[in-house]
């Protein structure tokens, strides 16, 4: 999320909480005790500083004191003050608000720093391992090719190896870039109404499923979906490639969709070893990898980001007949275009 948006959101939340505190203060039973009201305002300041930065918490602290003065300190509905003792209350309230917000913010920043450090380390180690392994193969194969005594058959084999590893590299880079797009908030959807079938088709054309039987089950009356075709294609490709990577060669894969209430549910299912229940959630986390099958561990995290941006959710469940069924929903937002029927 961009800085500006966070700040705007923080200010909005700050003002909303001050207004809420004022309403709650006014609603307190009996004779309004000023100390109780102060507590309610301070709670608002804490909540703001838990999520937002310095500016938002400061604004929330100052707005709280001003509202407290205006609405609760006699004479009401002016910023004038009868009893000079109340000035001390204001000062203490302001100081407490600033101290609390500083402490909360510091704790939050520390946690965020630790998290981003962890992510950076994981990213570096996966880049160095998963990008360098294919690179090493390419270097090795290319230098072997320089040897002129190499028989034609070995030559061909080396060339094919280079091609295959380069394709792997390309795909992994694409995933890394995809993740930065999903994470960086640069993901603006270019939604268009379309039949899901076409996206399924382009995803299948892009995925090397090497001779696997693919069962496709798309009802003819499936409603049009409003999606960013390129991104949903990426979701399907990642799911299909996972199926190809993690299940025994030659086992079938199934792609299906059905209309549910105000949404279309899409399924990519395999007949592989399945996913332990304890892992079912974690597989969608960044850098989480199920086994030692090579990969960066970003594919499902990207899927989750893209589906989330479409307002849907993604999950995995075991199949009765064995294997895993990855499912995601695409909510039907807005009204589909009307198409005139041809004679």
């Amino acid at each position: 999320m961009s800085r500006n948006r966070t700040l705007a959101e923080g200010l909005l939340v700050a003002f909303a909480l001050v207004a809420l505190a004022t309403l709650i203060g006014r609603g307190l039973p009996g004779q309004q005790r000023l100390a109780d009201v102060v507590m309610v305002y301070l709670l608002g300041v804490v909540l703001v500083s838990l999520r937002y930065g310095y500016l938002a918490s400061s604004v929330s602290a100052i707005a709280s004191v001003l509202c407290f003065d205006f609405f609760f300190v006699p004479p009401h509905y002016t910023f004038a003050v009868d009893d000079p003792g109340h000035l001390v209350t204001f000062a203490v309230m302001l100081v407490v608000a600033f101290v609390i917000s500083t402490l909360t913010r510091r704790a939050r920043e520390q946690r965020l720093r630790a998290e981003s450090e962890q992510i950076r380390n994981a990213l570096l180690s996966s880049i160095s391992h998963d990008l360098r392994t294919p690179l090493a193969v390419v270097t090795g194969a290319a230098s072997t090719l320089l040897d002129e005594r190499l028989p034609a058959e070995a030559r061909r084999e080396m060339t094919e190896t280079i091609l295959k590893e380069a394709e792997h590299l390309e795909r992994r880079l694409e995933n890394l870039l995809g993740m930065t797009r999903v994470e960086g908030g640069a993901l603006h959807l270019r939604r268009q109404w379309q039949p899901l079938e076409e996206v399924v088709g382009t995803a299948l054309a892009r995925t090397g499923l090497e001779g696997r039987e693919v069962e496709i089950s798309l009802p003819e009356d499936l409603p049009l979906v409003s999606i960013d075709a390129g991104l949903i294609e990426q979701v399907l490709v990642n799911l299909l490639e996972n199926a190809a990577k993690h299940t025994p060669a030659g086992t079938p894969v199934r792609v299906a969709a059905r209309a549910i209430d105000r949404a279309v549910e899409v399924e990519v299912a395999d007949r592989g070893p399945g996913i332990p229940e304890a892992e079912a959630r974690r597989v969608f986390e960044k850098f989480h990898r199920l086994s030692d099958v090579p990969g960066v561990g970003l594919g499902l995290a990207i899927c989750s980001g893209i589906v989330g941006a479409h307002g849907g959710r993604i999950w995995v469940e075991p199949r009765d007949e064995g294997g895993s069924s990855f499912r995601f929903t695409l909510p039907l937002v807005g009204t589909p275009p009307t198409m005139e029927r041809e004679p």
Binding site: A166, Q192, W193, Q194, E197, G201, L204, A205, I216, L224
Partner: protein, 232 residues
């Protein structure tokens, strides 16, 4: 001595890429003129009048679209553009602006040669008599009688479905952008309504393809448009 191969003008600023393309093209009988900048490319185009232009969209001196527009003021030679991923819009603009086809880096030599073949064949056909019949496997389209058959069976197409199929068929092998298809089939005031196109394309696939979810001939070029492919 056999007839000399087609003359290709290659405008590409990266020298490793030029080296690879040179090897692939000369090995397959093409003759080659190479330049690294748009300005020089335009000069060479006038000097050599090439049969085909292979143009990289990421040139340092001028946008590829400029080069296409300028070439199109006097030359009808097919232009195939080379784009990097992430240049999606530049690619579409190039096609709408008069380029004939595109390749996205990284691409294989097989794909490159196939694109050049289609572009050259298309240019040749455009200058001669239009073909009366197109056959793709068991499918047959007779332009004069407007009849489509699958083996012995006649396939009923609605007027729009026929127009869409015939437009793709007249440009067989070549990519057609959403915009180009919408303009041809629905008219210039409908060029933004891609949902029509997608829905009719789906209907056409259900009538003409064995497995509509995995089309062999009516293929999607993601984000760009469609292509009628004969070989598969």
């Amino acid at each position: 001595m056999t007839t000399p191969g087609p003359l290709v003008l290659l405008i590409e600023d990266e020298s490793p890429m030029r080296r690879i393309l040179r090897a692939a093209l000369t090995a397959n009988g093409y003759r080659l003129v190479e330049t690294a900048t748009a300005a020089e490319g335009l000069t060479q185009a006038r000097a050599y009048n090439p049969d085909l232009v292979l143009l990289d969209l990421g040139l340092p001196d001028r946008p590829g679209l400029d080069v296409i527009r300028e070439l199109r003021t006097w030359s009808a030679a097919p232009i195939v553009v080379i784009s990097a991923s992430g240049q999606e819009q530049a690619k579409i603009d190039a096609l709408d602006g008069g380029a004939d086809d595109y390749l996205t880096k990284p691409f294989g030599t097989g794909e490159l040669l196939a694109r050049l073949r289609v572009a050259l064949r298309h240019a040749e056909r455009a200058s001669g008599e239009p073909e009366a019949v197109l056959s793709i496997g068991p499918l047959r389209l007779d332009f004069a009688s407007r009849v489509v058959t699958d083996g012995d069976r006649e396939i009923h197409l609605t007027p729009i479905e026929y127009k869409l199929f015939a437009t793709l068929a007249r440009n067989v092998g070549k990519v057609m952008t959403h915009r180009q298809l919408l303009r041809e089939v629905w008219g210039p005031s409908h060029v933004g309504e891609t949902q029509y196109l997608r829905v009719y394309m789906a209907q056409l696939r259900h009538k003409l393809e064995r497995d509509p979810a995995r089309p062999r001939h009516l293929v999607t070029e993601p984000g760009v448009g469609y292509r009628l492919r004969t070989e598969s």
